[in-house]
Each structure stands twice: as structure tokens, then as C-alpha cells.
């Protein structure tokens, strides 16, 4: 399952809708699905802000892969290569605007990594390990 959107902030709501639905289809609770939605929104917002530097005419591709043991989201752009070392959130005790997105991404995804084999543009891979609890199974309707 995948969705392709222009790199304009007005399409982030579409990515959020899709993400929340996929998380629910994947068996997550309402609460976890909300955290995954926020994380994917932040990752796409970062592509718009940092990779594309506000250029709203590019594309972002978001792909979803669901397996019983993991929920995977792949975010691809065609911008200049990101230095993974430069992707760092701010110290949460240092109150100032910005620097929260990465924290939201890392709290719900177990793996947050740029795929170094991609030669043009960037591919961010987010993986959430799924623990199949009874509650998860029953809450999904």
C-alpha cells in the first residue's frame, strides 16, 4: 500500500488519514495508531522543511508494509542526500520552538534509519515491532 503526495503541507492531512487507517488495519489500538500518525506526519514535514527546503512542487512517497510481527513505513523523497548524523532532536529540557519531531518518531518506532543503498534521494525506513496482545486483537473492529 502506498501514497504519493506533492511536497506541500496541505497534503499532510491525507498522509495522516492513511497512516492512522493502516495502523488500525494492522491491529493497533486507537492510542498507538495516533502516535504512529503523528510520527509519520513529522517525518514527512521534515522532508518538506529540511530536504526540500520548502519547495512544494516535489513528491513524497509513503509506503506501508504490514506483517504480523512488524509495521513498516517507508518515506521516499528525491531531494539532496540527508546526513543521518545531522538528524537530531533538541534536549527536551531546553525549552524552545522546534526539535520535537524526531522525538515523536523515535518514541513509537523501534527502527528509524535512512536506507544507505538508495542512490538518488532519500529513503527513511520506520519499523514498529508488533506485540500481539489480546487487547490489540479485540480492540480492532
Amino acid at each position: 500500500m502506498s501514497v504519493t503526495v506533492p511536497s506541500h503541507p496541505k497534503y499532510l492531512c491525507v498522509v495522516r488519514d492513511v497512516t492512522a487507517r493502516m495502523a488500525r488495519i494492522g491491529g493497533m489500538t486507537e492510542e498507538t495508531s495516533g502516535q504512529v500518525k503523528l510520527a509519520v506526519d513529522e517525518a514527512c514535514a521534515n522532508v518538506i522543511k529540511h530536504t526540500y527546503r520548502g519547495d512544494t512542487t516535489k513528491r513524497i512517497v509513503v509506503k506501508f508494509r504490514m506483517a504480523p510481527e512488524a509495521f513498516e513505513v517507508i518515506i521516499e523523497d528525491t531531494g539532496p542526500r540527508v546526513d543521518p548524523e545531522a538528524v537530531k532532536g533538541r534536549d527536551l529540557d531546553d525549552i524552545k520552538p522546534g526539535g520535537l519531531g524526531i522525538h515523536f518518531i523515535k518514541r513509537v518506532f523501534d527502527v528509524v534509519a535512512f536506507d544507505q543503498t538508495k542512490t538518488k534521494g532519500n529513503r527513511l525506513r520506520l519499523i514498529k515491532n508488533m506485540e500481539k496482545t489480546d487487547e490489540d486483537r479485540h480492540n480492532h473492529s
Partner: protein, 109 residues
């Protein structure tokens, strides 16, 4: 997102409804910085109908708060839904922003 600003007992109440994200937080920022520019001693943000907030929305409030602190103004949040409150607390901002149950709790009416 929609923003309605009403003045009650001289205090601006900013009622936001819908989703605060990268595409809508710019409008919120404009309104907030205008109130800061007017050096309002107290500004209330009514979260009753806020369904979503991302880091750009939070950054906007942090910026507004910092602006108000310069002149000793107070920024107060009311009626924060549980899912939004959770995001503020994860961001360690629940201690930074003053939060109240309802508008009446702040205005004491």
C-alpha cells in the same frame, strides 16, 4: 483548522477547532503574535475542539509563550483533550504551559 477569537472580561479567548499542523499553524502563529504585539497580559487558548497537534503547532505555542514572558504576560490553555495533553506531557511542556479545565476556571466567573 478554524480560529475564533472572542474577548471576555477583556481577556482574548482563542478557540481553535480542527487540526493544528504544518499547514495551519502559520495562521495560528499570525493571530498569536498579534496578541503578543498588543502586550495582552492574559491570553486563553481553548482546546475543546482541537483534534490534532503536531510539533509545528507546539513550536508556535512555545514561541507565543516566550514572547509573552518578555513583558510578563500569561498564556493559559483550557479544556485540553486527553490525546493532546499526552503530547504536551511527552514533550515535557505540561510544566511549562499552565493548563485548566475550562474557561470559567481561569476567569473565575
Amino acid at each position: 483548522m478554524k480560529i475564533d477569537i472572542t474577548i471576555a472580561e477583556g481577556v482574548p479567548i482563542v478557540a481553535i477547532s480542527g487540526e493544528i499542523d504544518m499547514s495551519t499553524s502559520t495562521l495560528l502563529r499570525t493571530h498569536l503574535l498579534e496578541l503578543v504585539g498588543e502586550k495582552r497580559p492574559l491570553v486563553l487558548i481553548d482546546f475543546t475542539y482541537v483534534s490534532y497537534i503536531d510539533s509545528s503547532g507546539i513550536a508556535t505555542f512555545v514561541e507565543g509563550l516566550k514572547g509573552m514572558m518578555h513583558y510578563g504576560g500569561k498564556l493559559k490553555f483550557v479544556a485540553i483533550p486527553a490525546n493532546i495533553a499526552e503530547i504536551f506531557s511527552f514533550s515535557k511542556l505540561d510544566k511549562v504551559f499552565e493548563m485548566y479545565g475550562s474557561v470559567n476556571d481561569v476567569l473565575d466567573r
